[in-house]
Amino acid sequence: MAEALLRLHDVKKYFPLRRGWLRRPGWLRAVDGVSFEVQTGEIFGLVGESGCGKTTLGKTILGLYRPTAGAITFKGRPIHALPPAQARALRREIQYVYQDPGASLDPWWTVGRSLHEPLVVHTRLSRRERQARVEEMIHAVGLESAHLRRYPHEFSGGQQRRLGLARVLVLNPSLVIFDEPTSGLDVSVQATILKLFKELRARFRLTYVFISHDLSVIRLMCQRVAVMYLGVVVELGSTAAIFDTPRHPYTRALLAAIPRPVVAPEGDEGPLLEGEPPSAQQLPGGCRFRLRCPLARQDPCARLEPPLAEVAPGHWVACHFADTVPSAAS
């Protein structure tokens, strides 16, 4: 098998909790031992609810956060402990699209100047060459050259997504990480934006990591999906495996909770999760999901944290009962 484009091995990112001066009552374990690989050319989905650590993980891959432990390799080269200058140079290859691309542009700069900036920083292109590249990209995302003279707040939500994409694509990266790329968009706009993402991926041979809480978008876009819960991956596999034969009780509950535009008979909503996730500052011992899990037992769930184990080729689940869970399709 070809070398994976991106490989994470047991990546952890803890944030110190501070209360007052110098006292450290503990750590916030935002990402707590995540391993997966992203193959060249695929769209890899990272899905979970707020606070599950998916955004922290994205920013750790990018190098904005330095992992507390673990290794990240990109094109076979370790990138988790690069000195700052090299880490910055690497951003030519790995780019990040923020949830609100409008806010990721300097409000005092014209859009054109913001689009030039990555090229100024990373290349020695002349002004004219840069302009040509910027115009190529602004057209590629479906905007016009005249838009370059405007300011970020003059654009609508959908246009801002396009701008955010144009800004990272001018560098011709190989990996693009999207953080909640469609949240806050109306569905009719979302549809066109997702279509654009797919077109650009084919045209520029990109690899995407899609971070989202929206399972229907993930299902539509991704080839493989990792489901995160409180800092760990609880289930990993092909989109078909995750959505058709989910094995982890959390994945199943998550799928049942998606509001679908289909009217179900009264009361037939499937299993709904009770309660809310515990704080990542005070995780329960054993399996993190056991407090909300319909299958949880005292032993082994409260005692052992289940490892991510392969239950079918390419389908990994972190549950003590992964084999006994009826793999009924949803």
Binding site: A103, D106, P107, V121
Partner: protein, 281 residues
């Protein structure tokens, strides 16, 4: 730019402030040409001492017989020089400290900001008096005293702004693009904190002029016969209340100038407020 002036014009008080500041600048620049008796800054005419305002001497004369209008106009020069140099150097020291301390949290930044807090906790006037007293009365020492007491204001304001800007997505996004921290600091952060700096500078000019006049009044600033406003008032004291004009006109000059800078500063705050500017339609 024209939109900016238009908005400033709409705010009548701010516009009045702007006019006052412009007038101050003009009188400082053109004092030799505007003053009816430019030589009176150094000459004495004992025969004409303490004359009330008249056609020849619109502001009257002082106890040396010098024309007060001329002296007030030349005083504007001194005031402008003191205030500009003092606020300018306070800017040069305070803004970089605030920028760096706000952008790079750590013990060094913490130390710098605590130092600024120490300066801020002392009453500015008392500190300036102490410094001027120690170094000896002269205009350069006044400027030094004023800049030493004023830089922490800039450092504080800029520090607070940079701290909150650091949480803005677009600042983090520059990091995500691989922009070097210095470039981010100079090209993204600094322009975004320009507004509070400008506003603070304008108000700071007023404060500085007031403190400078106070130092002059206490005899810690300019020495005779320099026509510094504060010193003029100090000298005029012994001739009150008979020679009311002697203290009144330098005093009015101080009052109007300080008010001008304050009005302008307040107006600029409203006009330059990025929240109003960035407001989505």
């Amino acid at each position: 730019m024209s939109a900016f002036l238009k908005q400033l014009y709409a705010d009548r008080l701010a516009f009045a402030g702007l006019l006052i500041v412009l007038a101050l600048g003009l009188s400082a620049l053109l004092a030799p040409a505007l003053a009816p008796y430019p030589e009176d800054v150094y000459d004495i005419h004992p025969a004409q001492r303490l004359q009330p305002p008249s056609r020849q001497h619109p502001f009257g004369t002082n106890h040396m017989g010098a024309d007060l209008l001329s002296r007030v106009l030349f005083g504007a020069r001194i005031t402008v020089v003191i205030a500009t140099v003092a606020v300018g150097s306070a800017l040069l020291v305070g803004v970089p400290i605030g920028l760096v301390a706000g952008f790079y949290p750590g013990w060094a930044s913490e130390l710098l900001m605590r130092l600024a807090d120490v300066f801020l906790s002392l009453p500015q006037a008392v500190l300036a008096i102490a410094i001027a007293q120690t170094l000896g009365p002269s205009i350069p020492n006044v400027i030094l005293a004023l800049s030493i007491t004023y830089w922490p204001w800039f450092a504080r304001v800029v520090f607070a702004e940079v701290r909150s800007l650091k949480n803005e997505v677009f600042v983090e996004a520059t990091q995500a693009l691989g922009v070097s921290p210095w470039r981010t600091l100079l090209l993204h952060v600094l322009p975004n904190v320009a507004t509070p700096i400008i506003v603070r500078s304008s108000i700071g000019m007023g404060y500085t002029i007031l403190t400078a006049a106070m130092l002059g009044f206490l005899g810690l600033g300019a020495q005779p016969p320099t026509p510094e406003w504060g010193r003029e008032i100090a000298e005029a004291r012994q001739y009150l209340p008979e020679a009311w004009w002697y203290a009144t006109f330098p005093g009015l000059a101080i009052f109007v100038t300080v008010m001008g800078f304050n009005l302008l500063g307040d107006g600029l705050r409203d006009v330059l407020d990025p929240r109003l500017r960035r407001g989505r339609p």
